[in-house]
C-alpha cells in the first residue's frame, strides 16, 4: 500500500558535483518499502517541472523512519531537486512497483550449499542507486551479494561508500579506464558467467542504461542464468493509470504485449522484455 506524504528533507549531501544523497522523513512509506521499489518525488513546488520524478529507494536507514535516494543531476528536474535545503518538504508517493523477487532466507548452515545461487548485482552508472537496499536485504537473507559496477568515468562511480560500509565486495569498470577495469561492466560479468557453476551458480540483478541492460540481459538469457532487470521509462504517474511507461514484453505464450513499468515492473525477468 503506497502513501503520498509531504516528506521532510533531513539531510542532503553532495557526493560529488553531480551526485546527491537525500534523506527524507517518511515513516510509513519507509516501513512498507522493499528493494527495487521506487517513489514519485516532487522536485520543487509549482508547475515547472509539472511531473514528479521516479526515484529508486536507495536505502532505508536503520530506524526505518526515513528513505534515502541517490540521484544524479541529468536535467532541470534533478537540478532543482539538488537545491532543496534540509527542512524543505517534498511530496513523495510510494513505495511503488513490484520490487525485486527475493530469494528465500538461507538458513545459516546452508548458505553456501549447492543450489543456492550467488546474487550478482550489475550496475551501470546511476543505476547503482537501486542496489544498496537490495544488497543489505540480501545480506539479511544470508546471501553474499557481489556488486559489479560500470560507469563512464571515475566520478560516475557514485555511492561506493554505501556498499563499502556494509563490506559488500565490488568490482569496478570505467569506459575511460579512470578506475577499475577499462571497458563496460560486461567485461566484469562475462568471466563470472563462464565460470563453472559452483554452489548453485549465480543470479543477476541489473540496473543501468537501456543498452547495458539489453546486453546484460542477453548474456544472462544465453547463459541460462536467472536475471532481473530494473527498467527505466518515462513515468508521468507511477501508479498505473496513464499507460505512458510501457515496455514491450514477450510473454511465454501469446503476442507481445505492453506492460506498465511502474506497476507490472519496474523489475522484469530479462527473458520477458522484448525491446
Amino acid at each position: 500500500m503506497p502513501f503520498d506524504v509531504p516528506a521532510r528533507v533531513l539531510r542532503h549531501e553532495a557526493l560529488n558535483p553531480e551526485h546527491f544523497l537525500i534523506t527524507l522523513e517518511a515513516p510509513r512509506l519507509a516501513r512498507a518499502a522493499r528493494p527495487g521499489q521506487f517513489v514519485m518525488l516532487q522536485v520543487r513546488e509549482g508547475h515547472d517541472p509539472l511531473l514528479r520524478r521516479p526515484m529508486s529507494i536507495c536505502r532505508v536507514p536503520p530506524g526505518g523512519r526515513t528513505v534515502q535516494i541517490l540521484y544524479k543531476v541529468v536535467g532541470e528536474g534533478t537540478r532543482y531537486l539538488s537545491h532543496q535545503p534540509a527542512g524543505a518538504r517534498l511530496k513523495m508517493l510510494g513505495p511503488l512497483g513490484n520490487g525485486f523477487a527475493l530469494p528465500e532466507r538461507a538458513p545459516r548452515q546452508t548458505a553456501r550449499r549447492v543450489g543456492t545461487r550467488r546474487p550478482i548485482l550489475v550496475a551501470g552508472g546511476i543505476g547503482v542507486a537501486v542496489f544498496p537496499f537490495l544488497a543489505e536485504t540480501l545480506q539479511r537473507l544470508g546471501r553474499r551479494p557481489l556488486l559489479l559496477f560500470g560507469a563512464r568515468a571515475h566520478r560516475d562511480l557514485a555511492g561506493l561508500q554505501l556498499f563499502r560500509a556494509r563490506r559488500i565486495p565490488l568490482r569496478l569498470a570505467t569506459e575511460d579506464g579512470s578506475a577499475g577495469a577499462r571497458g563496460f561492466v560486461t567485461r566484469l560479468l562475462e568471466p563470472l558467467l563462464r565460470e563453472k557453476p559452483r554452489n548453485g551458480g549465480v543470479e543477476l540483478y541489473v540496473c543501468g542504461p537501456t543498452p547495458m541492460m539489453r546486453a546484460v540481459g542477453g548474456l544472462a538469457v544465453d547463459a541460462g542464468v536467472p536475471c532481473q532487470l530494473a527498467l527505466e521509462s518515462q513515468m508521468p504517474c507511477g501508479i498505473g493509470v496513464c499507460l505512458g511507461c510501457v515496455v514491450r514484453c514477450a510473454p511465454q505464450v501469446g503476442e507481445p504485449v505492453y506492460r506498465r513499468v511502474c506497476t507490472e515492473g519496474p523489475i522484469f525477468p530479462a527473458a520477458e522484455v522484448a525491446w
Partner: protein, 332 residues
Amino acid sequence: MKRRAAPPRSIARRADAPVDLAVDVGPLRLRNPVLAASGTFGYGTEFLPYLKLADLGGFVTKGLSPRPRRGNAPPRTCETAAGMLNAIGLANVGVDAFLEEKLPALRDCGTVVIANVFGETRDEYVQVARRLNGAAGLHGIELNLSCPNTEKGGIAFGVSPPLIEEVVGAVRRAAPDLPLIVKLTPNITDIAVAARAAKVAGADILSLVNTFLGMAVDLKGRRPVLDNVVGGLSGPAIKPLALYMVHRVHREIDLPIIGMGGIASAVDALEFMVAGSSAVQVGTVNFFDPTASTRMVGDMEAWCRTQGVRRVRDLTGTLRLPAGMPGGRSAP
C-alpha cells in the same frame, strides 16, 4: 459602556451554514462538481489507495473500444512546459473485459461512473454503446470525438459537423437509457460549431476539452520524441485555451457543460464553473498529485464558505461581461 460589535447575524450564519456542493448536469445528479477525467484515472480502483471514490462527484473510465487495444509503441509521453504530450493510442481492456472485470468492482464505489467510448468507425462507437446500455452500475457514457475516423482518411470525428451528427445520433439510438455526454475536441476553428452538431444529434451534456495536437522533437536524434510523432497536450499549459472554449460554447449552445483542461486547484475548477461549466473534470493533475481531486472538493467547499456562496451550482455561468459584449470581443 464599550463593547465589540458582534458580526451581523446573517453573515455569521452564512459562514457556518454547510455549502451545498451538489450539481445537476442534465440528467446526471452529482454529489459535487469534480469528476476525474478519462485516461487519467484508470478504471477507478487504481486510486483506492489514495482517496475514497465516494468523495468525488464521479469519474470517467479510460476510453473503451469493442476489442482490447494495446496502444502505441513507446515512448508515449513527453513532459512540456506546464504540460505533457501523450500518444497512448487509446490502449484499453475492451468493453467486454470492462463489463466483466472492471465495472463489477465498482458496484459499491458510491460515486457516478461514466464510461468513455471511442471507435475508429461509427459502428465501433455503436457497438460499445450498445454493450454498455443498461449495464448495472454505469451512470452515463462519454463519447470521445477526438478519435480519427479510419473510414474517412483519418480525420477526427470531432472536427466534422456531419460526422458528429452521424456518430452522436447513432450512439443516442444504441444506448437510449444512458445519459449521453459528448466530448469535444479543441482542434477546430470554432468549437461552437461542433457543440451545435452534438446538440442537434441528441447529446445530453457536452464535455470539453480533449487534448490539443502537439509535438516534441528530440534535437540530437533529429526525431520526434513520441513514437507516434504527434501527441495530445494536456495540463495547466492549456487552461486558458480550454476556459475560453467553455466560455464560447456556454454563450452559444444551450446544453450543460462539463469543463476541463489544466485544472489543478479548486480555484481553477471554480473559474471553469463561472465561465459556464456545471461540473468539471480533472485529468493530468491526477498524475502529479493523486489526491488532488478530492482535496479540490474540500477546497471548493472552503472557498464557497468564506465567500458566502451557499450552493456551488449558483456559480455556473456567472461571468460578468463588459457591457455590450455578450460573446466577448474577439481581437486580442
